[in-house]
């Protein structure tokens, strides 16, 4: 019955509305608009669904265009309610102590792949994808047709990579019956989109007269899918990307109770840029108070943090302040991507060859301001090119 977003009710002439909420996250701003809508036009009631979505009810047919208009303004009329692209994922490493690898980051990526490359799965209600950040299965990965479980693997050189266990063959059969998914193979988690493509392509090409995924899976057997995915599982050909978990910038660290564990997804590059601005304002205040050595040091930190921001967005190593200076020259100045009029290292190391005089403090801080403007422009250009 639930063909798409509008579901006819047993009460003649009334309809229920399915509203897809990505990862179950909705801002209070949008939720308030919906609250007023249901108070006036939908019998003052809505139900949160077991797929982390919204279901409105008791809506007269004449009101459907109005609701569609209102929901579209909230950006809530994406297709795919309860479809394959409506991926269930637990908060994982975002806010849960037990999260080993990011489930929300992976869910966003898989949904992008489905929407761009497999649009017909936006209407497929029979095949579900679910992701959990650890084995406790709050993301229900082991009852999905295609399930992903966050974990980590150690390479031969003892390096830790965010990984995922792929599971297949779970699902609800109805009237109290259901299946649990089988564990198929472990892969570096950055290869999960490729794994999904292989599974869907194989199913779409070899499926006969519309057989269900579960029938196809039982017919082909576990080994068939294991062999399909084996090429992705080797950890000898990892690249830099594989060491960074979905939705993160910095290298993956499995935070296992190491004192205070890390783990939010706030964009580090933007934070560093803000930090650079803050250092420049500190330099100005110190200068005003006649503390020239302090002012110079703040400008020095501004140079270093600004350079670190750009280097991180290029996934470069930034282990020490000294290394940041040479890496910046290597990555941006020698390659003519950014023109400073001199190399970055000598620009910054003026601090070593000048006494902390008012004169030097002033020129050093204006150079820092100019540098910040330059990297802001560079970053804006980069972001436009990328999206």
């Amino acid at each position: 019955m639930e063909k798409n977003h509008v579901i006819p009710q047993k009460q003649e002439g009334l309809f229920a509305l399915g509203v897809k909420i990505k990862l179950g996250d909705i801002t209070t701003e949008k939720a308030r608009v919906i609250a007023h809508l249901i108070k006036k036009y939908a019998a003052n009631e809505l139900r949160f669904s077991l797929r982390q979505n919204l279901v409105l009810r008791h809506i007269k047919e004449a009101f459907l265009p109005f609701f569609y208009q209102e929901l579209t303004q909230l950006g809530l009329t994406d297709l795919g309610f309860n479809s394959t692209s409506d991926i269930t994922a637990c908060p994982g490493t975002d806010t849960c102590n037990l999260g080993i690898a990011s489930s929300t980051g992976m869910a966003v990526e898989l949904e992008r792949v489905l929407t761009k490359e497999y649009p017909k799965y936006l209407e497929n209600k029979d095949l579900t994808i679910k992701i959990s950040g650890c084995m406790n299965a709050c993301g229900q990965h082991n009852m999905a047709h295609i399930g992903f479980q966050g974990m980590s693997i150690k390479t031969k050189e003892k390096l830790v990579v965010p990984a995922v266990q792929i599971l297949l063959g779970g699902g609800v059969l109805g009237n109290g019956k259901g299946r649990f998914a089988d564990k198929i193979i472990k892969l570096p988690s950055k290869r999960s989109p490729q794994a999904l493509r292989i599974i869907l392509d194989d199913f779409d090409t070899h499926r006969i007269n519309g057989e269900s995924f579960l029938d196809y899976y039982d017919k082909k057997g576990k080994l068939h899918f294991y062999t399909l995915l084996i090429p992705l599982s080797s950890t000898t050909n990892l690249n830099e990307e594989d060491f960074i978990d979905w939705g993160n910038e910095e290298r993956y660290v499995q935070a296992v109770g190491v004192g205070e564990c890390a783990g939010t997804v706030i964009d580090l590059v933007t934070t560093l840029m803000l930090d650079t601005e803050e250092k420049i304002s500190f330099a100005k205040t110190s200068f005003k108070n006649g503390k020239y050595a302090d002012a110079i040091y703040h400008s020095y930190s501004a140079f270093v943090n600004g350079a670190k921001a750009l280097l991180i967005s290029e996934k470069k190593k930034t282990n020490t302040k000294a290394e940041i200076l040479s890496q910046f020259d290597e990555t941006f100045v020698n390659s003519q991507k950014i023109h400073l009029g001199s190399d970055f290292k000598s620009l910054v190391y003026q601090i070593k060859s000048n006494e902390p005089s008012a004169h030097f403090a002033e020129s050093y801080s204006s150079q820092a301001v100019a540098f910040l403007e330059m990297i802001k422009k560079y970053r804006k250009k980069e972001l436009q090119r990328a999206t």
Partner: protein, 317 residues
């Protein structure tokens, strides 16, 4: 500890909130064992978060239902105490994050003013009673399960038999045989049936996901409605007595059934009959079947709609 004025009418709820404030104060005075404070706050929906020093709060919404005012209240609380973002869980609760432990009593008091509770959202208690999102409007449903889910939620909230069990306990109601509330992975899953014109439920027992998933067994093909609450009470009493309490990984009811076998478990349930607080519990659905007042009749003005997209979105078979 700043004590706030609670304008909560319900004395039991008020007592709950003031007790939470007292226990937080004791805990911060080092006079309350972390273990006991943890079970106390978990039973009041306050869960530790990955980021240190802040908490996740789970708001319990029986069968996922909110009215307009309740949703507005949740938004106010999320803006005031949290990050202005609501997270919908796979069991129809709302979670908000980054909440300060000290302010949780205040937060709870505000939610209660719109009859919203944090009580037993987490911890070793009966968690949210879920139901298919189309319950009450589903063309294929024999009857609306909402009144029965509501009665179960109210009967076991603050009930002493399920405040300190060995592990959490999950109950679901599906609207139809399509079983969208996933009865086969619940401790108790109910599917509505009509037999000789009277209402009842198919009862699934001892299912669960986690690292060692277990498919629920069929306890009853048909259980009449007045038996619903007594059977749940007897299952809870047996689980509370015989459930594992030290080894957390073996503490869910599915492990108990695996250990003593379904038959032995059923015998235990039968032996609980005498001790039950009620031998039958009649649930009256009529308050939930009142006229649907969809006022007004005139559609408010709205911009013109992209017809191609609208049809695709609307696409009713």
């Amino acid at each position: 500890m700043k004590s706030f004025r609670t304008e909560i009418e319900n004395p039991i709820v008020e007592k709950d909130i003031i007790e939470l404030e007292k226990k937080i104060h004791l805990y911060q005075g080092g006079q309350l064992d972390e273990e006991r404070f943890r079970s106390l706050r978990l039973a009041r929906g306050i869960y530790g978060q990955r980021q240190l020093g802040v908490q996740m709060i789970r708001i319990k919404l029986p069968y996922g239902k909110v009215t307009g005012n309740q949703l507005l209240r949740i938004c106010d609380v999320a803006d005031e105490y949290s990050t202005g973002k609501l997270h919908i869980t796979t069991r129809q609760d709302i979670q908000i994050h980054h909440v300060s432990l000290d302010r949780t009593p205040e937060l709870w008091a505000q939610l209660e003013r719109d009859d919203l509770t944090l009580r037993e959202a987490c911890g070793n208690t009966v968690r949210n009673v879920t139901a298919s999102a189309l319950a009450g409007v589903d063309k294929e449903e024999p009857f609306d399960v909402t009144p029965y889910a509501d009665a179960v939620f109210r009967f076991f909230l603050r009930n002493p038999i399920c405040q300190e069990m060995g592990r959490k306990f999950k109950i679901s109601f599906s609207a139809s045989d399509k079983d969208t509330a996933l009865s086969y992975i619940h401790d108790l899953g109910f599917i509505p049936k009509i037999k000789e014109g009277s209402r009842g439920f198919k009862v699934m027992l001892g299912g669960g996901l986690g690292s060692q998933p277990r498919h629920a067994d069929v306890l009853f093909e048909f259980l009449p409605c007045f038996k619903l609450i007594p059977v749940i009470e007897s299952v809870l009493r047996v689980f509370d007595r015989y459930g594992e309490r030290a080894k957390r990984q073996k503490a869910r009811m599915k492990f108990l059934i695996k250990k003593i076998g379904l038959d032995a478990f059923i015998t235990q349930i039968e032996q609980e009959q005498k001790a039950l607080s009620v031998q039958r519990f009649d649930i009256n659905p009529t308050p939930f079947e009142k006229e649907i007042n969809v006022n007004p009749n005139t559609v408010p003005p709205h911009g013109d709609v992209d017809s191609k997209k609208f049809t695709l979105w609307k696409k009713i078979m």
